[in-house]
């Protein structure tokens, strides 16, 4: 019973970060209609920024959010503006050009980071990295708890932004009907760039917040891109609310898988869910929850 509760808690906390990753992906998917396969790699870059700030200047990871998030936001905007947007006008046999482009960008980012930081594992040891809080016999990792709360705050802020500002409304409108949005005077290209930046910023935040408890090496991006995709599919493509469900679900499934089946199968489990969801529920959990 305790093990069960413990697994539940750690899965849930991790799920908060996963939700952030998933929302970032789902925003981009909604507005651009493409899957960003460089998503995890953007997160990886953000993690290296956090690591460098810590290693060079001793900046606390939570403080470096103020650097990593804007930096990746700008990177995201630039990627969209200079690499993805021009492809919309090109007619080729492969309609998946944009997706393939994100694969290439992801590879380039990974290798540039390897160039700078080598393939060695890096991690940040803060004073609180291993701190846990106990509630009964259940332990809460302090950094994960903080992460969870920041994730909730960021998600709340995002939802407020999407619902109550003109830019936010324009993002939703562009996702729902791009041409109609243009007719309303929305500069869809600008909105698309902003959205890509926002999605990148969110995943950057998740990456930075993972640093106190996680290790880092250049190839870490790929698995997280896959996770982001699984989360989106679980939540129903393009649905931000769904991505929260998807994130929490994946966090729980991974935790239970690791506890009850075995660590080495954790990735496999993710992939199997990926297939199952793709096939059984093309609309994701959205179909079940109706949200």
């Amino acid at each position: 019973m305790e093990l069960l509760l413990q697994t539940l808690v750690s899965g849930f906390l991790k799920g908060g970060l996963y939700a952030l990753i998933g929302i970032g992906m789902t925003l981009i998917m909604g507005v651009m209609g493409i899957i960003n396969l460089a998503h995890g790699q953007l997160m990886m870059v953000s993690m290296y920024i956090t690591y460098s700030l810590f290693a060079l200047f001793g900046v606390d990871p939570y403080v470096s959010l103020a650097v990593s998030v804007p930096a990746i936001f700008i990177l995201g905007v630039a990627i969209q503006k200079f690499f993805l947007n021009p492809l919309m006008k090109i007619d080729t046999i492969l309609p998946e050009n944009q997706v393939l482009m994100t694969v290439g960008i992801g590879m380039a980012l990974t290798e540039i980071m390897r160039f700078i930081f080598t393939s060695d594992y890096k991690s940040i040891q803060t004073s609180y990295s291993k701190t846990t809080l106990l509630m009964g016999n259940i332990s809460f990792s302090l950094p994960l708890l903080i992460d969870f709360f920041i994730a909730v705050i960021l998600t709340g802020a995002l939802f407020y932004f999407l619902k109550h500002t003109d830019t936010g409304r324009s993002i939703r409108a562009t996702a729902q009907d791009r041409d109609a949005a243009i007719l309303m005077g929305v500069n869809a290209e600008r909105i698309t760039s902003i959205t890509f930046g926002l999605g990148a910023g969110l995943v950057a935040a998740a990456g930075t917040m993972l640093m106190p408890v996680f290790y880092l090496f250049p190839d870490i991006g790929g698995p997280f891109t896959r996770k982001a995709f699984v989360i989106c599919i679980l939540g129903g493509l393009g649905s931000s609310v769904g991505a929260i469900f998807g994130g929490i679900t994946l966090g729980l499934v991974e935790a239970f898988g690791a506890t009850y089946i075995g660590m080495e199968f954790a990735d496999m489990i993710g992939l199997i869910i990926f297939f199952l969801v793709l096939l059984v529920l093309p609309g994701g959990l959205k179909r079940i929850t109706g949200m």
């Binding site: 493409i34 899957i35 690499f83 021009p86 492809l87 090109i90 080729t92 046999i93 492969l94 309609p95 998946e96 050009n97 997706v99 393939l100 482009m101 694969v103 290439g104 960008i105 992801g106 590879m107 380039a108 980012l109 990974t110 290798e111 540039i112 390897r114 160039f115 790929g222 896959r226 995709f229 080495e264 199968f265 990735d267 496999m268 992939l271 199997i272 990926f274 297939f275 793709l278 096939l279 093309p282």
Partner: protein, 355 residues
Amino acid sequence: MDPGVKKTAIFALLVLFVSAPLFVKNDYFLHLMILAFMWVVIGSAWNLLAGYTGQVLFGVAAFFGTGAYTSGLLVNHLGWSAWWGLPLGGVTAVILAFPFGWICFRLRGAYFALATLALNEVMRHVATIWESLTDGMAGIMILQTFYAPITTPLGILSSKTPYYFISFVMAALSIACVILVTRSKLGYYLLSIREDQDAAESLGINTRLYKMISLSVTAALSGVAGGFFTNYMGFIDPETVFSLHDISIMAILVGIVGGVGTVYGPAVGAFIMVIVQEMFRTGVFGLLSSLAEGTGSGAIITLEKHISSAHVLMFGILVVLVIRFMPNGVVGDWGKVAALVTPCRRANMRQEAGE
């Protein structure tokens, strides 16, 4: 190009390729040719499904690796010759492709592509985790059939010569296979599916069946190439043959650099990509290291040190550049490429455009 000229050119190339090992005894040259031929096979396979059927395959390594492992496992577990891995590798790849395609062809566009990516990853995990069968990360080592120079009436030939001919025949056959397909009913059906699935259905084309056929041919060719790879290299492990970068992405690059949906595109792309890859792996064929020694320039030394590890970076950048500037490849965008190379052609094109 004039068809007569084209035929003569192809014939000349065939003669050149067949006779090459008799003059060139340089092992390294033969090695590059063998790799290029192997990539012609994989690239043509990829092109059939992606370029001709419009179903983009992100994970060709799933089939390539399956073929490679078939070959290795036959040696390890049954004691058969690894050469059985060529035909049987094709068969096992098709066996893998069948349920996969049957289930995943209901997905369209990028989602199908992603499913193939996932299949790639699943296969790599399976090969890593299932140690009792595959020896996991340790990989499989086999004895190569040809490892010493071979004495023939024509003189002493490199041990790579048999591999050269086998890979050459495979490459020629796979191009022939693509030509055959494109000229047949199957080819018309595949193109129709690529252009518009709904229209294809309304013309009586069972789109799912023909997509399955296309996938099966692709898987079979890739599996055969995988089987060959085991025989040639003598060693495989999950990271090599199920590699996302070095196999799946490389295959896509071979396809798009050469020209998606063209018969000879993947062949052209294979040679370009193998050369580019080797250039990075060897520091522009050793030029950089000799330059570094000669000049003692610090910048060149650093460059030389890093460039060999940067081939994946180069892949990434190539993907970006090719998609951005040459989306139809060397063959498909030949006019553009030629115009870049020769200024007088550029003038001609401008004239034509003006008319």
